[in-house]
């Protein structure tokens, strides 16, 4: 969905058109959920936080700056809400196993390798994990990531590099 369609939906939502907002929910719900699940690693809580993200975004939609990428804006709320949830409830102690599953249409060797890499991601620090998710699963640019995480682009590059090095070493060792 291109930005002009998205902006149109936002404008309609701002006028109280819930149907337009529903379209935005449909567009981003799964991606937001995937990101939150990657951070919290708990299905039930991730569902709750996903709800909160959209409710919050509806309430604060008037604050949205049309110069800004809407997806980044939404993801920024998602990251903040997830980190707040972590602080509040210590749910990181309650990991769900197999939070992400590899598709079954690839051969066993590939599956094994990807599972190993997937496992390695879960071993990363919280900051590193979020960066990897935003960069590789959601394809955000450095600038967008820096806006989402409220850090400099330099920090983004540095965290990304250290996360990649940890992953490289882990995959090599295992």
């Amino acid at each position: 969905m291109n930005q002009s369609i998205i902006h149109n939906l936002i404008r309609k939502s701002l006028n109280g058109d819930l149907k337009s907002f529903e379209v935005l929910i449909d567009e981003y719900q799964d991606q937001i959920f995937r990101l939150i699940l990657g951070i919290l690693k708990n299905h039930a809580t991730s569902q709750e936080i996903t709800q909160d993200v959209f409710i919050k975004s509806w309430k604060h939609l008037h604050k949205y700056d049309f110069e800004y990428n809407f997806k980044s804006w939404l993801f920024k709320i998602a990251v903040n809400e997830s980190l707040n949830a972590l602080k509040k409830t210590r749910i990181f102690e309650e990991y769900d196993e197999n939070i992400h599953v590899i598709e079954s249409d690839i051969d066993d060797i590939d599956t094994l390798r990807l599972n190993k890499l997937n496992l390695a991601i879960t071993k990363l620090s919280q900051n590193q994990r979020i960066i990897i998710q935003l960069k590789h699963f959601e394809n955000f640019t450095y600038k967008e990531i820096s806006q989402i995480l409220n850090v400099s682009e330099k920090t983004v590059k540095s965290r990304l590099y250290s996360a990649r090095m940890v992953l490289k070493d882990y995959v090599k060792e295992n």
Partner: protein
């Protein structure tokens, strides 16, 4: 390798380099083999991560999420508008009780939870050194005491509690037996318990003046000391019920939370009509009637309430007048009423044996004619709650029906102390406030009440005896104790990871 070269390589792989930077990158790779190796390593990993991103099945979020979001937004908008429609129902009495019951069930759980938490705090205190010994030393040498930063922030007034009501409780034999049994310790190590203690929901409730007023009220103390309450607590049915997955599901269901948070619910709770009805003996008598529970638990009841005819009748503008009128003939002449009577749900309900049994009891008749009941029905708060979609969703859930079918609830509701408590202003205020609803609907709370440790503790005879003991009740009613509970520093202290070690 220099940082600037590393970033040049990484940015090239991530397509973030400018044309000039790309040129510099190519020059670097051509003359520096280490740089080339690093580039290959990162490239290979990035390719692998991209492949992983493609092959990871997107964890589909539940379809419920979207529904809940929309409902929450609609509710929010609706609350802002605050449209009031005056509606009532002849069948309203049945639902009025169902509403009471759901409140009570939560209240009971919260009371037990609160009591258990108090006890655990005391138990932890017994095992821990006294206030003076809380500080430790660095390096084993008593040169300087390392004072735990949170402990110093609790005021002296809070700590004086230990010398009075606390000591009484600590010397209570029942309490000592409970501590020795290990049940308290088990629960204090339970992850859900620790999480709940650390959650803002828990703290907000404990810090709310309404909650503190309520637990300090004589009505509350009387309820705790009530043998019927103790009987209920110790009954295996009750522990089974509140620790059952269905109870946890019910209390954690979005519709339940929505109902508790609905302004209609709060308004009804603080209405004087509700308080009067809750305290009336007619109401108590009816709720102890087994047919009453049976009816509420029947699927026909849920079907009727959620049927379109019912909603239509409820929203009819002239229904309020009709229901308030003693002339029943006028009511039956309403087209909405006729539609309801003709609906299959109504027929099913009225033809069910539980309905017939209930309406034929003198208790039912007495309640129907009681002035308290009529007043409640005539007020706008009740009608608003009953006609809210949250209420319909809740009563149609199987979890709700299961809860309603428990005979223990009716026993408690019928006890005079309980109805007195319900009718008191403190209880109503607590129910109407957001803190209680937030705690009850928090996932931590549901997880705690459904944990086996919690079930074991509350079914311990010592625990039940202790709840009923005067020393415990004195402690709960102490203003110092309430202040301590409401002190944020104390909350920080007890929710710290070291508190339960």
């Amino acid at each position: 390798m220099e940082k600037k070269y590393i970033q040049l390589i990484q940015s090239e792989i991530d397509n973030e380099n400018s044309l000039d930077a790309s040129k510099s990158f190519r020059e670097l790779i051509n003359k520096n083999s280490k740089a080339k190796d690093l580039m290959l390593d990162i490239k290979s990993l990035v390719d692998e991560l991209s492949y992983l991103g493609e092959k990871l099945l997107i964890s589909k979020s539940s379809t419920e999420i979207k529904k809940n979001i929309i409902t929450a937004i609609e509710l929010d908008s609706k609350n802002k508008k605050q449209t009031i429609s005056q509606t009532k129902t002849i069948n309203g009495d049945i639902m009025a009780k169902s509403n009471n019951k759901i409140t009570m069930s939560n209240f009971i759980s919260a009371a037990i939870g609160a009591a258990a938490m108090y006890l655990i705090l005391f138990a932890s205190n017994i095992e821990q050194p006294s206030t003076n010994e809380i500080s430790g030393t660095i390096g084993g040498d008593p040169v300087e005491r390392a004072v735990r930063y949170r402990a110093t922030q609790v005021t002296q007034a809070d700590i004086t509690l230990e010398n009075q009501e606390m000591q009484q409780l600590l010397q209570d034999k029942t309490f000592m037996d409970l501590v020795e049994s290990g049940e308290l310790t088990n629960l204090s190590q339970n992850e859900s318990f620790v999480q709940l203690m650390a959650s803002p929901d828990f703290f907000q409730l404990f810090a709310s003046p309404n909650f503190n007023q309520m637990i300090a009220s004589p009505d509350f103390a009387q309820l705790m000391a009530n043998p019927e309450f103790a009987q209920l607590m110790s009954s295996p049915n009750f522990s089974e019920l509140i620790t059952s997955p269905s109870f946890a599901e019910l209390t954690s269901s979005p519709s339940f939370a929505e109902l508790l948070a609905a302004p209609e619910f709060a308004q009804l709770m603080v209405s004087p009509e509700f308080a009067m009805l809750a305290a009336s003996p007619d109401f108590a008598r009816l709720t102890t009637n087994p047919s009453f529970s049976e009816l509420l638990a029947s699927p026909n009841f849920a079907k009727l309430v959620t049927g379109p005819e019912f909603a239509q009748l409820m929203s009819s503008p002239n229904f309020a007048e009709l229901a308030a009128s003693p002339e029943f003939a006028e009511l039956t002449s309403s087209p909405n009423f006729a539609q309801l009577l003709a609906s299959p749900e109504f027929a099913e309900l009225t033809s069910s044996p539980s309905f017939a049994r209930l309406v034929s009891t003198p208790d039912f008749a007495q309640l129907m004619t009681s002035p308290n009941f009529t007043q409640l029905m005539a007020g706008p708060n009740f009608a608003q709650l009953i006609s809210s979609p949250n209420f319909s969703r809740l009563v149609s859930s199987p979890n709700f029906r299961q809860l309603m079918a428990s005979p223990n609830f009716t026993e408690l509701i019928a006890s005079p102390n309980f109805t007195e408590l319900m009718a008191g202003p403190n209880f109503a205020q607590l129910m109407a406030g957001p803190d209680f609803a937030q705690l009850i609907s928090s996932p931590n709370f549901s997880r705690l009440v459904s944990s086996p440790d919690f079930a074991r503790l509350i079914s311990t005879p010592n625990f039940v005896q202790l709840l009923a003991s005067p020393s415990f009740n004195e402690l709960m009613a102490s203003p110092n104790f309430n202040r301590l509970m409401a002190n944020p520093n104390f909350h920080n202290l007890i929710s710290g990871p070291e508190s339960f070690k």
